[in-house]
Amino acid sequence: MMLAWLMALPAIGGLLAWPAALWHRAAPRWISLAALTLDLLVLLHLWSGSSAPIDITGRGQWIAILQLPWIPQLGISFQLGLDGLSLLLVLLTLGLGIISVIISWTEITERTGFFHFNLLWTLSGTIGVFLALDLFLFFFTWEIMLVPMYFLIALWGHENRTYAAIKFFLFTQGSGLVMLLAILALAFVHQRETGTFTFSYFQLLGTKMQPATEMWIMLGFILAFVVKLPAVPFHTWLPDAHTQAPTAGSVILAGVLLKTGAYGLLRFVVPLFPLAASRFAPVAMLLGVIGIIYGALLAFGQNDIKRLVAYSSVSHLGFVLLGIFAWNTLALQGVVVQMLAHGISTGALFITAGALQERLHTRDMSRFGGLWANLPRLSAIGMFFAIASLGLPGLGNFIGEFLILLGTYQAHPAFAVAGTLGVITAAAYALIMVQKTFHGPPRAAAPAADLHAPHMAVMAVLIAAIIWLGLYPQPVFDVATSGLANLQAATPDGLLLADGRPP
């Protein structure tokens, strides 16, 4: 039942926060903070009791699992499950959620109630996505996550917000509908095979299908996930959405929402369609490599700092796609760390960009320059996260990238070598950002104030987290192990044969 609370608390908080704005403008902030903190406590409680994961019906190791009837006539149940993988991602979601509330404290002054309602409902939907074990419920939460985010961009965004919001909505909604078709198709195929009509993940696992059917259904799923991830060539909604969203929106988008795509690939695509996935793996890995290089090239060319960071996300998530389809323990652990590290470092970069915009009223880097002299703390922090995102050893992103590439090398050396080139281009865009923004001759008029205490506290937490991930990631691996074991139960190490061909 705790799992339902995990999902419900932010939703309830959102419902309370909306009318609370009528009472006092700051009330929604406190309510959101309280709801998310409480949620975090629930999660930590679940985690602390996770010493002995439960094993249900031979379906692997789960920390907690919940099954309630919902629409039994259609084989739909309210089924949630928490394993190591979901735990880490929910933790990331709540952490970044709390941070988003804090950084919106001064930035959002209009319609605070509705803003926090949307923020909390997006988070609730995301948590649902990470927990859902019923495909219908999964789709349901997938949509819950999407609509409030549309409002966040469309109502509190920057100058070109309507365009960006509609683009975001069309891409994710369109691909989501394809996924719905694929879910229905899978359920029907399963019914024809076994006679029961169900959306339960566990029952659908191992459904026997014609190779062609399996491939088509899988492509339906993959489309939704790679749009969300995003992989080239479905990435173009991302720079617009990230750039136009308010800071909290960018943080949640980059930090959490993109991970739902990776999570979907991990949880659903490969376990449900192992054969099709292995046939598709070379294509997916190629897309990953293209994403790494292409995203980095585009990031290098941008003048808008938020756009640069957005394209760097494309590059970083290319690594994730590469690692998922390498599908061995090293690469998958790398994927987990990469997701966490990317959430932290990119979130921090968006906060930095937001702080710069708040002070200089522009995102155009050609109008920045030499900020180090005036804003030493902000600049040092910005540079720290730029360096983290170029993958310096000792910081979290390196662990992720290295493990992914090492795992990929074992699966398919050529893709690993090509992916490693992304490390060079990453250096190029990260350093050009530092140069244009913080270094160089002072150009912009001296801005008012450096980061204030709440922002500094947030940044300190993020810095500590990324150093911890970089120097002692073992706890993360230990937590993720049970989750990855669940995924790999059906599909063991490696999708490809030793020579890089599908089996």
């Binding site: 585009l298 290098f300 060319g301 050893p393 290295f402 490693t420 080139l421 001759p441 691996f477």
Partner: protein
Amino acid sequence: MLHAIWLVPAIPLLGAVILIIGCGRLPSLLVSIIGVGSVALSAIIASFISIGFITTPPPGNAFTIILWHWMAIGSFSPAIGFYLDPLSLIMMLVVTIIGFFILLYSSEFMAGDEGYSRFFAYMNLFVAAMLVLVLARDLLFLYAGWEGVGLCSYLLIGFWYQDPANGLAARKAFIVTRIGDTGLMIGLFLLFTHLGTLEIQPLMLRATQSWPAGSTMPTLAAVLILIGAIGKSAQIPLQTWLPDAMAGPTPVSALIHAATMVTAGVYLIARTHMLFALAPAVQMAVAVIGAATLLVAAFAALNQHDIKRILAYSTISQIGYMFLALGVGAWSAAIFHFMVHAFFKALLFLAAGAITMRLHHEHDIFRMGGLARRLPVAFWSFFIGAASLAALPLITAGFYSKEMILSATWAEGGRIPVLWAAGVITAFLTSLYIFRAVFIVFFGDLKTPVSGHYGPRITLPLIALSLLALIGGFVETPEGLGGITLFSKFLASVFGEAPVVSGSAANLRLLAASLVSLAGAGLAYALYMRSSPRFTAWAATPAVLGWRRFLFTGWGFDRLYNALAVRPFLAIVRVNRNDAVDYVYQIIALTCRMAHQFLHQSQTGRIRWYAGWLAAGSLVTIAISVLQ
């Protein structure tokens, strides 16, 4: 005692962290105490550890300590741990002691700079990263230090960030070396995938056990490691970043060139020498790259007029000697030259810094002159450094280390005296270019007024390093000159016994090499002290000028890379700035909009019009259903 080894990198790291958290608000005295003191402490601990190591060697002449396991995923379990053997011990001592002198010097050199505490934070981080690199037990941890020094070099080269040129030089250093790093990273993938560990010692053992010499795998692995080493050590073809790295403050150059960063590649190859021994072709390539770099850089150094650029090219060239030694399997000679080079190159840079500091940061040697009397300390230390670099016989340390390399080159590559010849020719050129600088800078007329004064924190490091540059070579002398082999004996547990070269032929070659460096100095005297008008006229003829310009740009490598890599990259970026893929979606959107434009004309809003269409549509539908 040996267990305290982790303190050696940890203390400078702690110093850096304190300075960073202090965020520029600490008083400058405290900053220099933390900055210099932490490295001093680390040097003291390193010295005690060394004494302990030498007096009571640990079993196997090597000591390992694991702080914690970085990660453990299946069989992949690299550790945060240190490995101390004679090789890493020498590296550690050089890094900490030279580092300490440079930091002491900087505490006065950088006084009054607005980024004083930032400078010491970066410098401490630099020393810490280099110590991690040389002491790491695992290749992955070594790689962490490897990238760490790259980052610190970026931060320090671009230290004066307000000038975009410095930023460009810094980025160039980082990105060019990162190209090499990528090779090393792929090398790590390959080694782990095929040998199942990244711990250096077992890795080397497994390589020798499971790979036959000359087979594909060790060759590939050695090539990848070599690419990494070339990048960090600024060898051809990735040498272009080093001359530009002069943009940073002078102590930074001293640190990069002497104690940290550029010698990392030499260390890496020495550390993995067993792998290179399995790949003779690659080892040959190391020697050839070293020889080529020697010559190319020495020629480029001949025609520079920025004092720091002369020294930069000389570093590239001297690292070439080390590569040459590594290539012919004279591992301990390479490390010996590394150590001696650290002494005299730190000395040369600090002396050059001492000069420019008194001349309002004038770097052009042709606007110096006559400084020998005005700046005696700087003159004598620069002169001693120059003599050691030029390997003036008997009295300088450089003579002994260079001699060891040349004799090994002859002995190992006997059938190929080309390498030996390259070494000897470069010895001549080295002597010529450095004494050219000495004569132009210190003699003749005074051209720029001298101002200011030095404190002891500048002179002390100069004197100490001068002593080291003179006597540091007596730990290893050729057979004909006493035959002391303390250094190679000490390293024997790492590299095996070095062959002893003796005989009258060896002595003859020794004599020849000594004469060559004296001849270079003599020629420099003849050309630049007595400035013959015929030479000046010859140097100004168009053909010669063209060559001089070519050499001045460092053989045009920068232009080549700009044309081959940088400009195409920028062009692609510029063309694709708005993301070509997005055009596809924009075309889809445009199609929808055009369809809308077309169809919305039918929405007139007139009810009779709609009714008419309704009737017509019904009529057609009924007609079709009736007539079928």
